[in-house]
Symmetry: D3
């Protein structure tokens, strides 16, 4: 249940239609996710800026950077930690579409469970940072 | 500033000493992170259970699962999303030790920034899940 | 799907009925939000205390303080950051009822997206506070 | 304690130096916040993209949009809800620099306290959204 | 709407079936929560490890430790703070099954509301820890 | 490092001094936590309202409600889940002052670790609520 209407193709302004067209061309699919349709209603300028940045980060490939599947798994892990249901569904689907196997997703769940547990314990105990961790940053 | 003392080697009970010894052998280093020393003070049984599980998830390798660096990056991303400073420092150091390059960490930061932004917008707009995302789960 | 029943007018105890009556009079509407009906079931004393405080903060006007719409936008932004779906729906409706325009809400979404992104990067990088920021607090 | 070095003016690449110069010109101050210096070390491309977007959202003014102080208060409220200490310090300082009075900040604290409390109770009770809230979105 | 299928008894592998059998015997009920059925699909090894640990923490009793109802209330409070709807529903039901009265749950809601409010204000104000709090940890 | 000064006894207005006096009398100690001193600077009205409510919830005893130590443990668990360092320190100290044993705190840490782990997995898997959980609420 959205707080804004979802913008249909018919109702799209030229600015929105241009973004929708680029999403379709970049992804090679006719489907425009509800997220983009809601964002189009909320703020067309924010839609354009968000899509441009997402394309640069998730579609384009940086030399020596992470491969597309790893980036998708990181995106999914962050969405899980933030408890964003829609995002978990869309990025689980995206990870599978990019080739994530059941064993890889099983590892993702196992690492998530491990990380939140140690995150919480570290915070609960107020553990001071080991001096050695810092040295590597300088 | 911890809410419990950090258990030194000299003060370790046999149960705690056995865990410390296994950490040292598994990791090939004499250094025991402050996290384990604080957890030893809080609850030796929780120390043993947490280390055993962390070893199974992060050290052992599942057939067809994620490689050690990818698991480390997911762990780090979750720690960042949860805002755990100690964890961010320790797992940034661990990612570098496992070979994460500056370009790979740059991608991690870029994906994190992208994910939290779209997570927040999806939530703010109450976007309903696209029916197609669900089909792939069944 | 609530974990408690929603208290109807007919089922309201005198203590609850008095709060419902004050909500109706203060807001000039017969509608009592589900939140108040659920809170009435959970703890009538908490209902009374929460309504009294909400009225003092959101309805009454402090000299030199924030105007009602700005307070509503801050309330909404916090609800978005906390990922509370019900709260996002009720306070988006309230912001519109208090005169928030589409352009103002568009700015709210844009600032939210910006803030969560820089919040996450600051945390991920462990950025130390600039000395100058502190000076102004003293 | 940062996980990356803070890039000094002397160490800035031409790409980073150009961003630093634009920050200085836009803000009319010589001071470059530690956030930008850390981001420059983490990923110069992310620095450029983040600054460009922050300038568009926070410095430029949308017709009929929120005034600069209200945007700053929303930014601050989100940072508080996310528990980002650095961000709270920098945006409290920024809010004061943009004219926020003590009474206005007092209202911000009061609304924050109110919002997190009702957010938590709504979530704890699983309150279903009132049908009327949705009507306004369509 | 799950991102994985829920594993039925008929579809359970021997590894999964053994966990399901132990859940049934330990809890004295035929019902297996959807959580365990989803986890069985995601990662049978994670299912086994999570159930084993949950049984050790929540079912077994440590000498001098917390009683079962108090542990359940802590579990519920954490789930509320984390905004996990499913967990709130399952652990509210579990708390009632373990004897939590309406007055005890009312106190839980009241303490939750108090805690999140002071947590947020402390964070918003950047309050430094009183030296005395630390002394007790050493 | 606070964003507001800490109000000393000498600098306290009559309104603030009255709250400080009631804190001292209620708690039987001369020490006023930094939280109250910071809140006094931020908003004396919020200080008075927060203290009045905290006294009602945490000091006064509801018939059939939770005992003081259990309320303190719930407060602490919520503070841990919210990652509020100051609150963790102050409420760990308070729990010890109210008689929490090392074994009880060990159980608290163990339950926290369990809860955040299952919270995260439930969210990651999008587990639907079992119909039976709801029945008990009606």
């Amino acid at each position: 249940m959205a707080t804004v209407p979802l913008v249909s193709d018919a109702a799209a302004s030229p600015e929105v239609a241009a973004v929708f067209a680029d999403i379709r061309e970049t992804r090679g699919t006719e489907h425009i996710n509800n997220f983009w349709r809601a964002l189009a209603a909320a703020d067309p300028a924010l839609l354009a800026a968000t899509w441009a940045r997402l394309k640069a980060v998730m579609v384009e490939q940086r030399e020596g950077g992470l491969d597309p599947l790893t980036k998708e798994l990181v995106y999914l892990a962050v969405s899980m930690a933030n408890g964003c249901d829609y995002c978990i569904h869309s990025h689980t689907a995206a990870a599978r579409a990019k080739g994530a196997s059941a064993a890889q997703l099983a590892d993702l769940y196992a690492v998530l469970a491990m990380a939140v547990q140690t995150n919480a314990l570290v915070t609960a105990l107020g553990v001071p940072v080991d001096p050695g961790f810092q040295a590597e940053a300088d």
